[in-house]
Every structure is written in C-alpha cells, then in structure tokens.
C-alpha cells in the first residue's frame, strides 16, 4: 500500500508537471557551473550532468523519504523541506487538534442528547444546527465570524494571523515582549537561571504571548469545530437512535437501572464504534485539514504553506506534504481498526 501510494503521488506529480523543466527554468539565470550544482542537489542530474531517468529518480526519492530526507526546497534554497515544514507544523497542529477534540466531545454529547430526547424541540434544534454546519461552506462561516466578532463588529478577537506583532505587545505595555519567549529562553536561560527577577519577567512574557496566541486561535477553532461537529453529531444521533431501540437497552430498563447508567454504560460504547472510524479519517486529514480555514483567517499553518508552495510550484515540498498526509491517513485508519478491537470484543484482528 505504501508503495502504491508513493508511486501514485510521484507519477501524478511527474505526469502533470515536469520538475526538471521547472527547476531548470528557476535556475536559468545562474552561471552554468552553479546551475549544474543546483540541479544535482535537487536530485535531477547525476555528477556528470546527465539527466537521471524518472524511474531512478523515484527510487532515489522514496529511499531518501524513508530515511527522513525530503530534499531541498526550490523556492527557499538552500533549505531542507523538513525544516520548512517544521516551522508551520506546530501552529496547524495546535489549531486542528483543539478543533477536533472539541468537535468530537461536543458532538458526542449533543448527538446522544438529540437521540435521547427524540422528537422534542431539543432534538429539532440540535438537528437543525448540525444541518447548518453541514451545509455552510467553511469559508462562509469563517467570514461571518470575522464580520461579527472582529474589528468590524464586536471587536472581541483579532481577524487574522496566529500572533500579534511584538511591537503591538510592547505598545500594550509589556516592555520585555520585543522578543518571543523561546528566543529569550534560548539566549538568556544559561546565564540568568538563578535570578528570580528574570524568571518573573520570563513567565510574564510567556503568559502574555500565550494569551495573545489563544485570542488569535479562538475564531479559526470555532469555525472548524462548527463544520466538523455537524458530521459527527449527525452520525452520533442516528447511531444512538438505532441503539436505543435495541433489546439490551430494554433489558437494562427492565432491570431498573437509572437512565444515566443506561446511556453512560450501555449505549455510549456502542455509539463510539462508528465514530472511531470517522475519527480515524479526520485525524488523517489533520495536517492539511484546513487550507480553507487557514486562508480565511490568514493563519500561518501548513495548509497556507501548501497553497503558497503550489503557487510557485515548489515540487519537493508538494510531494513531501502529499506523501506525509497520505501516510497519515493510512496510519490513522489502521489505528482506528486497532481501536475497534478494544471497543468491540466481538471483532478480532
């Protein structure tokens, strides 16, 4: 499967575009010797300057990929693809994991509530909200959120980015905030670690930076949660409806168990089963997950970076990202299958 997918990615990208041509066009204004070196470093030509055939490039690429070397970026040369990705990974993961956890918890709760109070106003409201989330394109809800909650409306949250500029934080009264906390830590911790004043300053800066970061992340996470929640909640509701009609729930009722125990102990685990499969799919999409949300909120994450490298056709980055994401999806599906056996003893691997 790994081979099939790597082949698919590589062939797709090499079929619809020609990396050699692209790279050559990029370096054509350099001196001949420099050009030759660059092309060699991209892995497109061998030491004699001859073009390496495609199948051999594929083998080289997959060999390097397995060993953690994803090649060099075309756009920001010389820089490793891995370093470039690393810069954006944290922001994306922060947003996506938060959104996914929130969406999952909320939707399981409201899905169960909706099914339990079937055919009451509560059920109708929850179903309607879920349907809204399913039907509203994520960029529309994002733009609505921007219009309502940012500078044009309530002014509660900033509209774009993941952090404020340090200058703005300084202007707000935090004089030490000119450098982000990790820079301060790297530069000064070795000399000042015995000084309590330094520690209080550092904690203060860190606290202000975290607050700022949280303020920036609220809207993207809310938007993503709203969209993701819809599918989860609908799935939970329909599963729960089916389960509440089963005989063992009737048996539990007949035994005189409280309604809470019935839902919590007897129904919940069975509701989670189909959700786990779906969660596996969502986790797979975590890394790329939200190019649209990131565009709406100008969020410096992997999705945005992927779009930016697409605009300049930075082939190594595109290939690396595609491959990583596909692998993530594969592994999370596998993880979901394994989780299945824990949740449902009837299934054996």
């Amino acid at each position: 499967m790994f081979i099939a997918i790597s082949l698919f990615t590589f062939v797709a990208i090499n079929l619809i575009g020609n990396p050699v041509e692209l790279a050559t066009a990029r370096v054509q204004f350099a001196k001949d010797t420099v050009q030759a070196t660059l092309l060699r470093q991209y892995g497109l030509t061998d030491s004699q300057g001859r073009e390496i055939p495609v199948w051999k490039r594929y083998l080289n690429w997959i060999y390097d990929f397995i060993h953690g070397d994803m090649g060099q970026s075309y756009e920001k040369f010389p820089s490793e693809v891995t370093d470039n990705l690393g810069n954006f990974l944290w922001e994306t993961l922060k947003m996506q994991v938060l959104a996914l956890v929130l969406a999952f918890t909320i939707s399981v709760v409201i899905g169960i509530l909706a099914a339990y109070f079937h055919k009451t106003p509560a059920d109708s409201i929850i179903s309607a909200v879920a349907l809204l989330g399913l039907s509203m394109p994520i960029f529309v809800s994002g733009i609505l959120a921007i219009i309502i909650f940012t500078g044009t409306g309530l002014q509660w949250f900033p509209a774009a980015g993941a952090h404020s500029l340090p200058q703005l934080l300084v202007a707000d009264g935090c004089l030490d905030c000119a450098r982000p906390p990790d820079v301060i830590w790297d530069a000064e911790v070795s000399t000042n670690w015995t000084d309590p004043a330094w520690w209080s300053m550092f904690v203060n800066v860190w606290w202000i930076y975290s607050k700022d970061s949280v303020r920036h992340i609220v809207l993207p996470v809310a938007t993503l949660t709203f969209a993701t929640m819809a599918t989860f909640a609908r799935l939970t509701r329909s599963t729960m409806l089916e389960i509440m009609r089963q005989d063992y729930i009737l048996a539990a009722r007949a035994n005189g168990l409280s309604e809470y125990t019935i839902v919590r102990k007897h129904a919940l685990k069975n509701v989670l089963l189909p959700l786990v499969t779906f969660l596996g799919l969502s986790i797979g999409g975590l890394l790329i997950g939200a190019p649209i949300t990131e565009t709406v909120f100008s969020f410096p994450g992997l999705g945005n970076y992927f779009l930016a490298s697409l605009v300049v056709l930075d082939v190594p980055i595109i290939m690396a990202l595609t491959m990583i994401i596909t692998l993530m999806i594969l592994f999370s599906n596998l993880a979901a299958d394994i989780a299945y056996t824990y949740l449902d003893p009837r299934i054996a691997l």
């Binding site: 619809i16 509203m136 960029f139 790329i288 056709l313 999806i329």
Partner: protein, 327 residues
C-alpha cells in the same frame, strides 16, 4: 352488475365485480409502488417540499439567467460606468442590483450565472461518480472473488489519497501551463471531473456490499435457472433493488460537489474573470470585507441555501425510503 340496483355502488360491491376487481387490483398495485409512496411521504413533509422548490428555482435560474441579466457575467462594461452606479466595488443600486465587485464586474449577473456553475458541477460530478461507482460495485459484488479483491484495492487507493490536495496540485499545474494535455480544459471542467473521479470509491463499496446481499437471494437463483444472462441479472434484477441508498447518496454527493467546487474556487486558483463561481466571488470580496460585507454575504449565502436545500431534500428522501426511522 346484477347485484344491488340502487344508487351508487359501494366499494364492496365493485370488488365483487369481475372486471372492476382486476382493474382495481392493478390500480391498488400501482399506488403501492415504492416510489409513489416515497413521493407521497415527501409531499407530506413541508420543509422538504420547500427545499425541493428552492432547488428547482435554482435550476430554473441556472437555465434561464441569460434572459434576465443586462450585462454578461464577464463584461467589463459596469467597471467603466463609475459615474452611474458602476465602477469597482459599488453598493447595490437600481442599475446594478447586486452592486459591482472589486474587478468592476456586475455582481447580480455573476450571482445568477454562479447558480449554473454550481448546479452543473454538482449534477455532472455526481453523475460521473454514480456511473463509475455503481458499475464497479455491480461487477465486484456480482462476480466477487478476484474481481472484488482488485476493485476493493483500487477503492482503498482512492479513499486514501486526499482529494483536495490532488485537485489543488492539478489546478495550479494547469494555471502555470504545466499540465500537458489537460491545459485546454478550463477550471470548472477540471473540478467537475476530479470531484466525480474521487467520489466513486466510497459509493462502490456500498454498492458492492448491497449487491452481494441481493445476489444471494433466491429469486436471483430462480432467474439464473430460467437462463438469464449475467448482464440481464445484474442490470434488471439486482440493480433496481440496490438503488434506494444510491439515490440518497446521490443527493449528498450533489451537495458535497457544490461545496467542494465553491471551496476550490474560494482558494483562488485560476482566472477570476472568465471562471464564474460563487466561491470566486467570496474570495474577491475578502479584500473589501470592511466596507462591502454584502459582496461576501450574498454569494456565500447563495451557496449555503442551495446546499441546505439539497441536503434537506436528501434527508427527506432518506426518511421516506426508510419509514422505520420515522416510527
């Protein structure tokens, strides 16, 4: 006819009548046809009827919009008309009912033309998915064994590859003239084909499972004994019995197709003047969000309501097909 010589015949009497009974039985049989029942149930559901008419309205707009609009969707004329309500980014007025956008294009006509794009992409991509998915599912589920194994591996591959990424790569390659034979196709065509190709895998699995179930029934054996060919069994005896979930999924696919198209258009790859799409309109409005909120909200809510309509209608079909859920 010989019995009661009174006024009108009662139902019981007409049932005793030879010819009438036959006719009535046929009528009764016809009216209990599943699809008639489904239609009746949907008619009873007021929200679903409303949604149906809204989607119908969109289809009408998609077909008839050239009659209504004063300026072609990609005409530069409104942009030059600064003194009389046009220009770049103007508020709605009587001459330009939707205002004009950043590029000086008439938002009203682009809004109406966007309905066409959305409907076309939604319906065509769903047709492609359904054709491939149902065919593969039928063959895999009927022949089983090796055919099924191969088909399932291919669906695995398609389910694992993220659609958005491949679509974005392809679109950006086309923008840069890097896509070889595909360069001639325009944006909407590429998106339609891609959505269609990436949608079939999940459907094929569902159809395979259903076909496997149906083909183990006894009446299939009976038909086979009567000497029907494999093709006849598949398309005449199995296919109609697996169609119900396919129709529900079709509605979901149309909604999904419209959303995907809008999302890809929103990400802004391609030519914003000649490609007409609600997503592109929202994207263009992003720079003007502070002063011209209506530019984002009108096309945004157009997508939203259309998708909502399709989803509601799909839900109604699902409920109507499966009365168990309604209790």
């Amino acid at each position: 006819m010989a019995t009661s010589p009174g006024k009108t015949k009662t139902l019981d009497e007409s049932l005793t009548d030879g010819l009438d009974t036959d006719l009535q039985a046929r009528v009764a049989q016809q009216s209990t046809n599943q699809w008639v029942l489904v239609g009746q149930r949907i008619k009873k559901n007021r929200i679903a009827t409303l949604a149906f008419y809204y989607v119908l309205l969109n289809i009408l707009i998609a077909i008839l919009f050239p009659v209504v609009i004063a300026y072609a969707p990609n005409s530069r004329q409104p942009g030059l008309d600064r003194r009389f309500g046009g220009g770049s980014s103007n508020f709605p007025n009587l001459k330009y009912p939707g205002g004009t956008d950043v590029l000086g294009l008439d938002t009203f006509s682009r809004g109406l033309a966007g309905a066409q794009t959305s409907m076309l992409v939604g319906v065509l991509s769903t047709t492609i998915s359904l054709l491939i998915g149902v065919t593969v599912g039928l063959y895999a589920g009927y022949y089983q064994g090796k055919v099924e194994e191969i088909a399932m591996r291919i669906t695995d591959l398609f389910l694992a590859v993220p659609f958005l990424i491949i679509a974005l790569i392809l679109l950006s390659m086309i923008n840069r003239g890097q896509a070889g034979a595909l360069n001639g196709l325009d944006h909407v065509q590429i998106i339609t084909i891609l959505i269609g190709i990436f949608g079939w895998a999940g459907l094929a699995r569902l159809v395979t499972a259903n076909v496997k179930q149906v083909s183990s029934f006894e009446y299939i054996d009976a038909v086979r004994i009567m000497g029907a060919s494999d093709k006849r069994i598949m398309f005449i005896h199995i296919l109609p019995n697996t169609l119900a979930p396919v129709i529900v999924i079709g509605a979901i696919f149309i909604a999904g197709g419209i959303l995907s198209e809008a999302g890809l258009a929103f990400l802004g790859f391609g030519d914003p003047v000649n490609t007409i799409s609600w997503g592109i309109q929202v994207n263009l409005s992003r720079t003007e969000l502070q002063s011209h909120k209506e530019q984002a909200l009108i096309p945004g809510f157009a997508i939203f309501f259309l998708v909502l309509g399709v989803n509601l209608f799909g839900d109604a079909i699902r409920d109507a097909l499966d009365p168990k859920l309604k209790e």
